[in-house]
Amino acid sequence: MLLIDCPYCGKRPEVEFHCGGEAHIARPETPAEIADADWGSFLYYRTNPKGVHAERWLHGHGCGRWFNALRDTVSDAFVATYEMGAPRPDVAPENAKA
């Protein structure tokens, strides 16, 4: 079973977690003033990279907290996990083989 390193609880099984999509997407502060295309881009367009991807995860059946994780979309390995609000750790793709 895939273990995910919750920043609060430590390594816990994947079934306790839920993925919440891409992380670090800031909502525009003045939605009424931006163009429709920009708003559509904020709502629907995601990076979908091949490699390290920053995602939001919820430890719902555990401590109940959201946190961010860097996951390699090729190997499904979790490279790093960090608390909400913390900056994205600088991880080079070649180090991404956990």
């Binding site: 079973m1 609060y8 609880c9 816990r12 099984p13 079934v15 306790e16 059946h61 555990g62 401590c63 109940g64 907290r65």
Partner: protein, 190 residues
Amino acid sequence: MLEFNLARRAPTVAPIASDAGVKITPLGPQGRLALRIRPAALAGRNDLGGFDLSGPINSRREGGDGEASRDALHLGPDEWMLIVPADEVEERCEAVSAALSGAAFSLVDVSYRDVSFSVEGPGADAMINAGCPIDLSLKTFPVGSATRTLLGKAEIVLARLAADRFTVTTWRSFAPYVQGFLVEAAKDGV
């Protein structure tokens, strides 16, 4: 009226007879308080109305003594489940509220939301692992641990009281499922 009815409702589950080595026993009424408070607001206060909140996350700390037990389960960074005898709920609510006066916190009586089971006997950890994905070896889940996790498809709060003794707490509507799951799992270990 609703509270009156809930408080006096018949127990959800009756004991299921089984000759397995691990005994699954529904526990009687217990008082349960959900306490949410940020560590900053707690400001180092570890003893709240007899509850010991000093334990690390996913741990259980006992307070009080004998019949007047006061257990504090640290389930999340800002979340505790406080367990008291059923007839002490209001008194403990007031004591904790008084100890926290001035701080921002939430204290809710959730006594009737949950049903608890005692799971006791040799190999109880392996038996719970029939539906619980976390590592229950004494090294990673020692005596005094408590955490929210899953059992089969139901969410449970699992506390280890001794090497072969656990308390499984689940929502009332999940209780028949959890009880049946545990009884069936225990039969595998006979």
